[in-house]
């Protein structure tokens, strides 16, 4: 080829406004715009409530929350202070802790022992029972309330009101029963994935069942246990139905979810307080979520990713 022909056929750096480059750049840009747009839209509901919680009733009724973002800025902390002090939200917060912490610990410990047996011990009907647990994962809670309410009523009579409808122990026990299938499922999956030669080596070393469980399995399972604890904690903290059913709505024992629901019903005209109340109820779960997100996500992924 002549020099001129060679120069013509050599690859030329494309200008940024050349057709192919432009399409690529636009589609790249479109992607970013789409994602950021979706994310902003996703945040709107929460931000709307957050902003509203700092506005007085008059402002809330007069204009949308977005107007608060432009002058004149009229913000107030009244909603928060009145909701904490006068509306019993403090007690509700304590009740939430009182319900959630035991209802997390109890199923986790029971599930840990059971999951070890399902994963590494052989016994008749093991696979059938586990299969039944898998089935129970989807049973709607509504189908258990009526008999259990009678049962708790009877228990209340027997134990002089210690365990019965409207008591914390009743809710702990109910959440334990409801939470066990998922807890056992999650922990079993994790335990079964532990390398078998670890156990064989321990067997040769002379370690008995207790030693293997407490000194080998538990320390290695901390991530899975953490995931379960967080998952169960959030689940119980955010629960409304089980608390409504077994605890009832009385002021002294109602957790945040029940309390806020009753505020929704009763406040009619005063719903500026509702904004603050709702936001306060979100603080604890959001803290738990953002600081321990990794574990929460792992809990959700347990057994969900297939293929």
């Amino acid at each position: 080829m002549s020099v001129a022909q060679e120069r013509l056929s050599a690859p030329v750096a494309k200008a940024w406004y050349a057709p192919e480059q432009l399409t690529e750049r636009i589609s790249g840009l479109a992607l970013h715009v789409a994602i950021i747009g979706i994310t902003v839209a996703w945040l709107v509901p929460t931000v709307g409530l957050f902003v509203s919680s700092f506005r007085s009733l008059g402002d809330i009724q007069a204009s949308g929350w977005w107007s608060a973002l432009s002058p004149p800025f009229r913000f107030t902390l009244d909603n928060y202070s009145s909701v904490i002090q006068t509306n019993g939200l403090g007690t509700a917060l304590l009740n939430s802790f009182m319900i959630t912490i035991p209802a997390t610990i109890i199923p986790t410990t029971i599930a840990a022992f059971a999951a070890y047996a399902f994963s590494w011990m052989r016994f008749p009907f093991r696979n059938w029972i586990f299969l039944a647990l898998v089935g129970l994962l989807v049973v709607p809670l509504q189908v258990t309330f009526i008999p259990l309410l009678s049962m708790f009523r009877a228990l209340g009579d027997m134990t002089g009101g210690f365990i019965g409808n409207g008591t914390f122990p009743a809710v702990w026990l109910a959440h334990t029963g409801y939470g066990l299938p998922f807890s056992i499922y999650l922990l079993s999956n994790f335990f079964r994935a532990l390398p078998s030669d670890l156990f064989e080596s321990a067997e040769i070393d002379g370690a008995g069942t207790l030693t293997v469980f407490f000194r080998i399995i538990l320390p290695l399972s901390v991530p899975a246990l953490a995931s379960l604890v967080i998952f169960q904690f959030l689940w119980v903290w955010n629960d409304l139905l089980v608390a409504l059913i077994y605890l009832g709505g009385t002021e002294q024992v109602a957790p945040l979810t029940v309390k806020i629901t009753s505020l929704v019903n009763s406040l009619g005209q005063g719903y500026q307080l509702l904004t603050a109340a709702a936001f306060l109820s979100m603080i604890v779960p959001l803290i738990v979520f953002f600081s321990l997100q990794r574990f929460f996500v792992r809990g959700i992924l347990a057994g969900s990713v297939k293929g």
Binding site: P195, D197, L198, E200, S201, A202, E203, I204, D205, G206, A207, T211, I216, P219, L220
Partner: protein, 352 residues
């Protein structure tokens, strides 16, 4: 210190799945015995039955004079090094090695002494407080060995300990393991699929295939006097040449050549076996020469391998590296008839 005996040991899972068939071998005290064979031949299962990790369907296994069939693993006085090392990830190197002694309720001072001794032998002194994930593959393997050593067992069981190491480390570790065996003066039973490891490390080799013991002997015995076709083809690299022949009047006739057999055999069909290094370009006996058409030449500096055909059969030859050969050439090679093997066509057993 003990010998190990497998006495008609069988491992059967279901009626049609028998993984180990009538396994008989006696391993001497302080011996380094290698169980070798391809994947699925039953060698690991045999080892695990000895360890107590698998039940024994039939037969007896003895350690020393004791029959151990019904003894739990921890009472058999054995130690095992697993292929993946099986180190406890959340424990330090020291704790990993101390663990078996803690299980035996050994007093703390004794534990400390034994762990430090083992660590010194294996060069782990600087790593005692580290966790396994902070160690290299070779270091982890040494911890696994250390955990076995502190138990002072009668028998060491090793299940493919080198397969997770890279090639260079493997060579180094092979040497270290042999030294360790000499120092500890204890029976070692070593399972591998790698025939090089078997040949270099074992005092004796037990070759298994499809659950059946093929041959037991020293590396030299197995190399020079393979009992059957499988053994002959498994040991030695490049593989022995196999050429179908018919025999009559003390001569074996292949499609491309014929040779005089060192011993009379009678009229049969069989497979003639000869190793690549028994072919040479310096022909001494014109009657046992063959003509090879070269397809591929491999020059390794210290060796030269020729791959080609003789008549209708594929043949490999190892020749002097200075011999000038090109692809497509026809070379005349002499065959050393003293090292011929003949295998019966049906039974595959050695006739010579």
């Amino acid at each position: 210190m003990a010998s190990v005996t497998f006495d008609h040991v069988v491992k059967r899972y279901t009626a049609d799945v028998t993984v180990v068939k009538d396994f008989n071998v006696e391993i001497k005290d302080k011996e380094f015995m290698v169980l070798v064979g391809p994947s699925g031949c039953g060698k690991s299962t045999a080892l695990r039955m000895l360890a107590g990790l698998e039940s024994i369907t039939e037969g007896a296994i003895r350690i020393g004079d004791r029959v151990v069939n019904n003894l739990p693993a921890k009472d058999r006085d054995i130690a095992m090094v697993f292929q993946s090392y099986a180190l406890y990830p959340h424990m330090s190197v020291y704790d990993n090695m101390a663990f078996p002694l803690q299980m035996k309720k050994t007093p703390k001072a004794e534990i400390d002494r034994r762990v430090k001794d083992a660590s010194r032998i294996l060069g782990l002194d600087n790593f005692l407080q580290r966790k396994p994930r902070a160690l290299s593959g070779g270091q982890r393997q040494r911890v696994a060995l250390g955990r076995a050593i502190v138990r002072n067992p009668q028998v060491f069981l090793l299940d493919e300990p080198l397969s997770n190491l890279d090639a260079k480390l493997r060579g180094q570790t092979r040497i270290e393991l042999q030294k360790l065996h000499r120092d500890l003066e204890t029976t070692f039973i070593y399972v591998t699929h790698d025939q090089v490891e078997a040949m270099t490390m074992g005092d004796r080799i037990a070759l298994m295939y499809d659950g059946v013991l093929q041959q037991v002997g020293t590396p030299g015995d197995i190399y020079d006097k393979p009992a059957n076709l499988f053994v002959a083809g498994f040991i030695g690299s490049p593989t022995m040449n196999f050429v179908p022949v018919t025999t009559s009047n003390g001569t074996a006739k292949a499609s491309g050549f014929s040779v005089k057999l060192p011993k009379p055999v009678g009229e049969t069909t069989g497979v003639l076996g000869f190793r690549p290094e028994t072919l040479t370009d310096r022909i001494t006996d014109a009657e046992s020469a063959l003509e090879m058409k070269v397809d591929v030449v491999e020059r390794l500096g210290s060796d030269q391998f020729l791959y080609g055909t003789v008549g209708g059969d594929q043949v490999t030859a190892r020749v002097d590296p200075r011999l000038a050969v090109a692809v497509g050439d026809s070379v005349r090679l002499g065959l050393d008839t003293r090292t011929l093997h003949l295998f019966d066509a049906k039974s595959e057993k050695a006739l010579l």
